[in-house]
């Protein structure tokens, strides 16, 4: 079942990326990318290596981290509930079948597309900075997320009877996917939120190069963030902290990857702007 789902998600996201490549990235950049992909990837290789290492660490220690987490971690589920009470239940009160279907697809397919596509889009830019920074921001998100998951144990609202389990009741097969990626005590903070918000901020920064993507990314990120609560998976608190984490990671990415005005000189043949709006 898991394999079939992974296949389904891969196909859908690949198709979306293909459409996005043609409509958003555009022919000119794609053609250039065909020539430039190798040197660009080579240049970004250290950053990509870090991201891959973080992801590998994440999956390698997940089960182990879970145990440490129960041992040393703070179980904050009841504190979160004490803070926000029935907020998520209120979000769910506007429930309709159409909304549930929309948010379920956005949560699974939209999210993967939102994370993958900008890598492609930024790889096609002459300016390497957004690509590198995005990769670094992703790395920080996963790394800090893992640390927070170890320190804090929390169940989502669906698991403590505050909210309904809308994703898994309408699309129970999705649980095979989400549980392969994470455990149900890792809800604080919401990485769906922090990564989506991270992409949205980058989309804002690159809005001159990719105006359509800017609008699309903002809409998609907002939907994903809402979906985490609408589906009963995350608390409002997880989302807020997720937004904070996104801000931190974007900040860190700017600190560790310098903007490269010199780059535009190197690739002076290219007439496109850096794509970065500082």
């Amino acid at each position: 079942m898991l394999r079939a789902l992974v296949f389904e998600v891969s196909v859908v996201v690949a198709a979306l990326c293909a459409v996005g490549a043609v409509t958003i990235v555009g022919r000119t950049r794609l053609t250039a990318l065909r020539v430039e992909i190798q040197p660009r990837l080579r240049e970004s290789a250290p950053y990509l290596a870090v991201l891959i290492a973080v992801l590998a660490l994440n999956s390698a220690v997940r089960d182990y981290a879970q145990e440490i987490s129960w041992f040393i971690g703070l179980n904050i589920t009841d504190s979160i509930e004490a803070i926000e009470g029935g907020f998520v239940a209120a979000v769910q009160s506007v429930q309709t079948e159409l909304l549930t279907a929309y948010f379920s697809y956005v949560y699974v397919f939209g999210y993967v597309f939102l994370l993958i596509f900008p890598l492609l889009a930024y790889a096609a830019l002459d300016d390497r900075t957004p690509f590198k920074r995005l990769v670094v921001a992703y790395s920080f998100n996963y790394l800090l997320g893992l640390l927070l998951y170890i320190v804090f144990v929390a169940y989502g609202p669906r698991n403590v009877g505050v909210a309904e389990n809308l994703l898994y009741i309408t699309n129970p097969e999705y649980q095979f996917l989400t549980s392969a990626v994470n455990t149900n005590t890792n809800v604080f903070p919401s990485l769906h939120t922090s990564l989506s918000a991270t992409v949205a901020v980058f989309a804002y920064r690159t809005r001159e190069a990719y105006p359509i993507w800017f609008g699309l990314a903002i809409g998609l990120a907002a939907s994903i963030i809402l979906s985490t609560m609408y589906l009963g998976i995350h608390w409002g608190t997880d989302v807020l902290v997720g937004l904070g984490l996104a801000a931190l990671c974007v900040g860190l990415s700017r600190r560790y990857v310098d903007g490269e005005p010199s780059q535009s000189r190197v690739s002076s043949e290219s007439k496109s702007s850096t794509g970065i709006t500082e």
Binding site: Y155, N159, V160, Y168, P172, S179
Partner: protein, 651 residues
Amino acid sequence: MSSDRSVPISRRGLLAGAAASGTATAGCLGRIRETLGGSGTTQVSLDIKTLPVDSDPFAVPIARALIDNLEAVGIDASLQVMDVTQLSEQVLLNHDFDIYVGQFPYARPPDPDALYPMFRSTFATELGWQNPFGFANLRCDDLLDAQRTAAAETREEPVAELQAFLARTQPMTPVVAPEVVTGVRTDRFTNWDPDDREAAGGGPVHPHNLLQLEGVDGAPRTLRLATVDDRLTTNRNPISAVYQQQESLLDLVYDSLALDTGTEYVPWLARDVSWSDDPPTVDIELREGLVWHDGRRLSAYDVGFTYEFLRDTSLGGAIRAIPTERFRGRISLVEDVTVESAHELSLTLSDTSRAVARRALTVPILPAHVWRDRTAIERPPGRAGGTTAALTSNNSSAIGSGPLRFESAGGGEVVFSRFEPHFLWRSATTPTDAPNGTASRNGTDPSTDTDLSTNTTVTQPTDAAPTAPNGTSRSTGEAFAPPPEAYGGLPPFDTVVVQTVSSDASAAELVAAGDADATATKLSGDAVAQLDDSQAVEPVSYRSNAFYHLGFNTRRQPLRNPNVRRLVARLVDKSRLAGEVFGGNGQPIASPLAATDWLADDLVWDDETDADPEVPFLGTDGELAVETARERFRDIGYEYNADDQLITERN
């Protein structure tokens, strides 16, 4: 906080102020008094621990209903949700809880003696499923002893008295006996729910019931089950309370001397069992040619070892015995073990009726060559007392002698294979495909067939007659029923795969999609709805003996006080929960023996008033009568502060 530096005000002055002022300011003053600290009063607070919805769709709603009403009467109640290992560890090993919501560890309709380890004061300091409530009451001890020693015809009286006593003192509150639904596929295996299986026989995925499945011709010989309980993937220790639950497939990995089918006891590893009195003794003759999964021979020595070992897993190494965390009540029935030969032994039992004593024969028999090296005393971090390697071991290779042999675990799956040389199938296996290893190992091959045919006639009930207490309708199996004919034929599977999923809905989805043959997990109403999609799928429902209850930690205030426990019990509308949480598929109950013939007349649920006969809900139609309830707390000596909080002396 500014209040920290505020001018000290005497408590009396504050109280006077609070009393004199109107409600508008009283709340504020109440809070100031709280923050002043030191001596004085504080709000009564209770933590309710239970499993997340993913693991148990019913426990959280019960806990929530309780919490709402606790808060309504001014108690600061909070929900603590944690995974099953964590919960078991906190409740069963560390006794670190106020109230937990969970299921009683009963796979079968319990004999009244199953209450013995749960409530006898002598077990209050032990770990595991032994008196986790810390309940210590001499009257209760006497009644528990009395039901053990009473002759069959007089046993009813102490059993009824015991139930009345437990209902009155409420060391735990039985809530609902659930009707459980299992989703099964019928396109590969059938006979999930044979017509002649009695309710006591359990559900379709009760481990031994799986042996009665029938195969569809040409279907693959792999049986797939889906569960939310992932503990078998990492730990296969049958005597660990934290990692083992009732009706785990490990029940098919470890054999016992006799098998409780729910309706009778059938000889299992034992070929013959005979009872004698003065002192009460049971002589056991093992079946011929029993082998462990690693090929070694299973002898009476292993059996004798098991009974000694479960009583003290340090085998004398610790100053105080460190007993098993499970089966403790049954082990306490055995006073002495004498191994007479490789296949004969006798157990000297404590002074009990035979109906109780036979329970001692249902503990899992462990291989001495594996477990005798696990006597080292350990002090794992975060655990209260000392323990042994036997209890902390994850027993990953799980060498037993049962019908299933553990093969592998990983990737969320646990794989078992059918153990070819098991005694169940020796007659079903033709001589040519009999495993050579078995025959040569024990050297008894010519007699195997005759042994099994003798088995069908041994242990006539009359064997035990001369000195036996008179039988009654209740003790059906003082001597054993004929050997396990019902389990005899070769099952239609060679491999059993248990797949871990993250929720009941996923388990149902796997069955609906054809990726599993049955759910081995409780299904919520929403999950049952998943099953409708497919034609070859059907829901099978049965009454579970593992009733939901509130467990109170009577070691702690305020739950040390039986009056408080009774009032907490009265905050729960059992009948409402049975209807709403269990969708009407549950029976509200007032006694732990509710599902048995032993249920005391006074504790039968009154369908007319739909109220608990001993601790009726303080309200109507699920709505708590808050003022009445608060008045009751005042009646038992509690006070409310100006914030309407139930208060207690600060410790």
